[in-house]
Assembly symmetry: D2
Homo-oligomer: 117 residues x 4
């Protein structure tokens, strides 16, 4: 009943929701940001159905507090994820929109893996 | 291109992934479990597109450590969520399956809200 | 070498650092705030050496995002904790100071539990 | 009233409690573990009063679930932190002891920074 395409969509949602709430609150600075981006990518790619994941954290929002660092907030995330179930792919985004860190499906595609004669 | 049904599925995934990673690690006991269940439910229902959320934490897995408490693990979650986008509903579960805390879509339905003459 | 008083101080630090990073990011509103306060208190009191814990979340900072809720930020915490090791007590705070969620030791005391003749 | 030494102890507690609850639950494997170790170290060193931080995650506990990865648990942490306030240093550990991820103060020292004639 549930299609591969729907499951690919579901899996994209899971991973975006998960990474957001796992990593929000992490102490961060412009110098350490790339290590956090890399660690998030390497954590997410481990999970089932993830084909690709790219994490960029917006340095311009990393304003320093009185102790010289910042804290990872949801507003800083710019994430693209591609999930696959069977021959169905889903591309999802997490990015700032109207002041809200919005998660959305960008597109879904079915790839015909082989030609049928 | 993306349907309401697909978005309902996506939103269910987001919320399940989010709650898992927000609360895993919380100190917990059989006596405090209901307060955590309630806090999770009240947090998740705030989020967009959530119609219903029920969180049960498996007390039988809350074995006491040397200091007399336990820690919320993914294996303890028994969650049902219903999301809605337009007239499309999606029901998702998070529950233990084969030793893994599995998130899955149980069903999706389109409700025809009004009759058209 | 390490005194009871020092351990009481250490334990207060552990619990404040822990609750901050466990709960930051939780979806929250003025209506749900008390359930989160209660759940945090019930989680922290389970941990060793905690005598008392009071959590207040600053509602005035819970401004609604485009979907009508907010997210628990470090700036919202007003926490008082009392830890005890032996006859040594430590009172610690987590509260906003100069725009930073500052954790600090307020006082430590040694209580002589019984009179010796 | 509160000494530099006590604050160094307090700060060590804060950082250990914080890192535990920030990262527990992260998807992890033996191959990705070093990126998580590095991200944690780079996050913690940003925080005030931290002089040194070393994070080792116990690979032998990273048993693969049905999808081929593991999840960062408190039992995996082997952490050493050195905090400093004024001329007082505190060394703290987080490591497995009797099946519990124990945080403890290993030693505190006062360094006389300069010789006085």
């Amino acid at each position: 009943m549930k299609t591969d395409r729907e499951q690919a969509v579901f899996e994209a949602g899971i991973k975006l929701g998960a990474l957001y709430h796992q990593w929000v609150g992490t102490p961060i600075s412009r110098k350490s940001a790339s290590s956090v981006e890399s660690a998030i990518e390497k954590a997410v790619i481990l999970q089932p159905f993830v084909e690709e994941i790219t994490v960029h954290l917006n340095r311009s929002l990393m304003t320093e507090n009185t102790f010289g660092y910042s804290e990872l907030s949801g507003l800083m995330f710019e994430v693209e994820i591609i999930t696959r179930v069977g021959f169905s792919y889903c591309r999802g985004h997490l990015a700032l929109k109207n002041g809200y860190p919005l998660m959305r499906i960008v597109e879904c595609n079915e790839i015909s893996g082989v030609s049928h004669h």
